[in-house]
C-alpha cells in the first residue's frame, strides 16, 4: 500500500474527499515501487529525545540495514517545534513529540501523515495505539506511537500519611518546601486545573484559569522548586529532601536504585496528565523513505523490550510485552501498566494549551513570588 507518488498530496486529498482512501491506495499500490517502508538505505536526520533508542541500537541498525540515523537531541517540545518550523523536512526527516503537540505539527503543516499499514512492524502495536483519535485525520495517522506515561504524584509514606489519593494533599501546610515539580508551565497549570476541577485542564476557561492560577499561588510555599530534569525529582525523593513530587511511572524503582527510601505513587482521583510519545515524518522530508525504513526496524519488539528495561515506562508494542514476560520482567512490566495501555487514554494528554499566552503569563505571575 502506498501514498507515495509525484502528486502524492493531491492524490491524498482526492481520495480522502471521495471517501475512498484505503481502497484507492491499495489499488494504486501495485504501480508504485518502494511503497512499503523497509527497503530504503542511507542516512536520515532525527530530532528526538535520548530515551527513544537504546545504546547500540542505532549502530546495529546501521550495520544490518545500512540505515544511518543522525539524532539531534532536544529537551522541550516547543524547541523542537520551533526548529522544525524553521528548517523543515530539508534538514529534519523525523521528529519525536508528545501527545497533543503532534496535532500542532500537523496544523502547522510540518508533518506528513502516515498509513500505519505501510509499516509491517505496526502489527506488533496494541490495537488501541493505532487509533488514537487525536492523531487520526482524514489524511492519515499523524505519528507512529512509541511510549507513554501518566504523571503521578509520588510520595514518601514515612512522612505523608495517611496514603493520599487526591491532588489536595499538595496544599497541606505540613509539606512546606517539600514538593517538587517538573518545570513545564502548561503541565503545571494543567495539574492545577485537574486539582481545581477544570473540565479540560489544557483548555481552561477564564474562570477556571484564574482558579488554577490562585491554586498555584497558594501552593508556592510548599514547592521547593520546579526542576529542569525529571531525574532531579528522583534525587530529591531519594535523599528525602522532598516528600512529594510529580513523576512518570516507575518512580518507586528509580528512587530505590538511587539508594532512596520506599516511595509510593498514585494517580490522583481528579485525573492527571500524561504523555504519549510518537515519531512523526516531516513534510517533504529529504530522506523520507530512509526514515520510514528505520522506523520499521527500530520499533521492533526486540528493541522496544530493551528500551523498557533501560528506561522503564510503558510502550505501545504489544509483542514486546510478551518478550518481557518471557525474559522474566512481567512483574515490573505490569507494575508499570505496560499491559494496560487503555489507561493512557484516561489521562489529560500533554500538549500546548490553545491559550498559550494566558497560560504562560498565569504561570509566570503565580510563580514570581
Amino acid at each position: 500500500m502506498s501514498n507515495q507518488g509525484i502528486s502524492r498530496r493531491g492524490f491524498m486529498r482526492l481520495t480522502a474527499g471521495a471517501g475512498l482512501g484505503l481502497l484507492g491506495a491499495s489499488v494504486l499500490s501495485g504501480c508504485k515501487p518502494g511503497g512499503t517502508a523497509g527497503k530504503a538505505q542511507g542516512s536520515f536526520n532525527w530530532m528526538t529525545w535520548g530515551d527513544h533508542y537504546v545504546p547500540g541500537q542505532l549502530e546495529k541498525i546501521a550495520a544490518d540495514f545500512k540505515i544511518q540515523a543522525n539524532p539531534t537531541l532536544f529537551s522541550d517540545n516547543s524547541e523542537a517545534l520551533l526548529k522544525l518550523q524553521q528548517v523543515g523536512g530539508k534538514q529534519i526527516d523525523m521528529c519525536s513529540a508528545d501527545a497533543l503537540w503532534v496535532p500542532v505539527y500537523h496544523e502547522q503543516k510540518l508533518i506528513e501523515p502516515l498509513d500505519l499499514d505501510d509499516f509491517p512492524v505496526s502489527k506488533e502495536l496494541y490495537s488501541l495505539a493505532r487509533e488514537f483519535k487525536f492523531w487520526t485525520t482524514s489524511e492519515g495517522y499523524l505519528a507512529y506511537p512509541f511510549g507513554w506515561s501518566p504523571i503521578q504524584v509520588a510520595y514518601n509514606p514515612k512522612y505523608v500519611t495517611p496514603a493520599p489519593d487526591s491532588w489536595q494533599v499538595l496544599w497541606d501546610p505540613k509539606f512546606k518546601q517539600r514538593i517538587a515539580m517538573e518545570l513545564q508551565p502548561f503541565d503545571v497549570m494543567a495539574f492545577m486545573g485537574c486539582a481545581t476541577g477544570a473540565k479540560e485542564p489544557y483548555n481552561m476557561t477564564d474562570e477556571e484559569l484564574a482558579k488554577a492560577k490562585q491554586a498555584l499561588k497558594d501552593l508556592m510555599p510548599n514547592i521547593l522548586k520546579f526542576v529542569e530534569q525529571n531525574v532531579e525529582v528522583v534525587q530529591l525523593l531519594a535523599n528525602e529532601t522532598i516528600w512529594l513530587g510529580t513523576q512518570n511511572l516507575g518512580v518507586e524503582d528509580r528512587v530505590r536504585d538511587a539508594g532512596g527510601p520506599e516511595i509510593k505513587a498514585f494517580i490522583p482521583k481528579e485525573g492527571t496528565v500524561g504523555f504519549i510519545d510518537g515519531e512523526m515524518i516531516a513534510i517533504d522530508a529529504a530522506n523520507r523513505d530512509v526514515a520510514r525504513a528505520f522506523l520499521n526496524e527500530a520499533e521492533k519488539a526486540e528493541w522496544i523490550a530493551e528500551n523498557f528495561i533501560q528506561f522503564g515506562r510503558p510502550l505501545f508494542n504489544e509483542r514486546a510485552y510478551k518478550l518481557l514476560e518471557e525474559k522474566g520482567h512481567k512483574e515490573r512490566a505490569d507494575r508499570y501498566l505496560y499491559n494496560q495501555p487503555e489507561i493512557a487514554l484516561k489521562m489529560n494528554l500533554k500538549g500546548p494549551a490553545p491559550r498559550l499566552e494566558e497560560y504562560i503569563n498565569a504561570f509566570n505571575e503565580a510563580t514570581a513570588g
Binding site: 526542576v227 499566552e357 509566570n364 514570581a368
Partner: protein, 304 residues
C-alpha cells in the same frame, strides 16, 4: 623613563598615531572589516529581526505581522515581571560584589605569593574547571549543598546538627553561591591583570611612610587597580542578568530570575512578548554600558 619622547601637550604618544594626523588611513583599519561583517551579519541583523518580532503579535503558533506595543505594555503592567526583574538585579549585584571581594585577595595571592615560573599554570588552573560541563558542575554543587549533601553530612558527622538542615540549597543563597562559583574565575583573571601591572615597591614606600597594610591597600593599591575591579564588575554583573539554568536548578521556587520567565514565554511560543522583555533588559544594559564606557576601555586597565 618615557619610552618615547613626548612632545609637550601632545595627546598621542608618537607610537600610537592618530589616523587624522596622517593623510592615508592606516591599513590596520581593515582589521575591523571581518569582525564588522560578522557582527553585522550574524548579530545585529538577526537581533533586529527579533526587535521586529517584539512589535508583532502571535496567534497560536504563528507570528502575525500586526504592529502592536502590547508586548511592551504587558511588561510594565504585569507586576510579576517587575518583581522578578528587581530580584534578578539584586541577586546579580550581590554576587558581583561578593565575587570581587573574594577574587581580589586571590588575585593578590597569585601575583605575590606564587612562584613566577608557575604563575601561568596557576592562572590556567583557575579556568580549567570550565572544561567540564556547566550542568554537571551545577549538579555537583547540589550534592554539596543539599539535604544529604556534603555539608550536611559533615555537620551531622561532627554532631553540630542532629537533622539535615536546609539553609544551603533551593533558595537565593544557593543561587548566590553557585553564581559565585561560576563567575569567580572571570573576576580573578581580570583583577589579576591589573594587579600584575602594579609596581609593588609602592607598597613598601607606603609602609615606610607609616601606612598600615590596610591604609596602604586603601590609599595606594586599590586606587591604582580600581579600573580592573570595575571592568570585572561589568563583565560579571551584566552576563549574570541573562542566566536561567542555575536559578532553575538551585534556586528553588523563590530564586527564579527574569530569564527563567523569558524562557517560559519562549517555550509557550510567546516570542513577541519574550523578545520585548529581553529588549527592555538589553536596552538597560546598553544604557549602562554607555554610562560605564570609560571602564570598557581595557587600555586603561593595561596602561602602565
Amino acid at each position: 623613563m618615557a619610552v618615547v619622547e613626548r612632545i609637550a601637550g601632545e595627546e598621542e604618544p608618537t607610537g600610537r598615531i592618530a589616523v587624522k594626523s596622517t593623510q592615508r588611513p592606516s591599513p590596520l583599519l581593515w582589521g575591523l572589516l571581518p569582525i564588522g561583517l560578522l557582527l553585522m551579519g550574524f548579530f545585529l541583523i538577526p537581533l533586529s529581526v527579533m526587535v521586529l518580532y517584539s512589535f508583532w503579535r502571535v496567534e497560536g503558533f504563528d507570528i502575525v505581522r500586526d504592529w502592536t506595543l502590547d508586548n511592551y505594555a504587558k511588561f510594565f503592567t504585569l507586576p510579576a515581571y517587575r518583581v522578578v526583574l528587581l530580584r534578578t538585579f539584586l541577586i546579580s549585584l550581590a554576587v558581583t560584589i561578593i565575587a570581587l571581594v573574594v577574587a581580589y585577595p586571590f588575585a593578590y595571592f597569585l601575583v605575590r605569593h606564587t612562584s613566577p615560573r608557575w604563575q601561568r599554570l596557576f592562572l590556567v588552573l583557575v579556568i580549567l574547571p570550565f572544561w567540564t560541563s556547566y550542568l554537571l558542575r551545577v549538579y555537583a554543587w547540589m550534592s554539596i549543598l543539599g539535604d544529604r549533601g556534603l555539608i550536611n553530612q559533615a555537620l551531622l558527622f561532627l554532631h553540630v546538627i542532629k537533622e539535615p538542615i536546609r539553609v544551603f540549597l533551593y533558595n537565593q543563597y544557593a543561587v548566590v553561591i553557585v553564581f559565585l562559583y561560576l563567575y569567580l574565575p572571570f573576576a580573578i583573571l581580570t583583577i589579576y591583570a591589573s594587579l600584575e601591572k602594579f609596581d609593588f615597591t609602592q607598597m613598601n614606600a607606603a609602609a615606610d611612610l607609616g601606612a598600615t597594610p590596610w591604609q596602604a591597600f586603601r590609599q595606594v593599591l586599590l586606587p591604582q587597580t580600581k579600573a580592573g575591579v570595575i571592568t570585572a564588575f561589568i563583565f560579571i554583573f551584566i552576563p549574570m542578568l541573562g542566566e536561567y539554568i542555575t536559578p532553575k536548578l538551585v534556586g528553588g521556587s523563590g530564586g527564579l530570575m527574569i530569564a527563567n520567565q523569558v524562557v517560559n514565554l519562549f517555550r509557550g511560543f510567546q516570542f513577541p512578548q519574550g523578545a520585548a522583555i529581553t529588549f527592555v533588559v538589553v536596552l538597560g544594559i546598553i544604557v549602562f554600558l554607555i554610562a560605564a564606557q570609560k571602564y570598557l576601555r581595557i587600555e586603561e586597565l593595561y596602561r602602565r
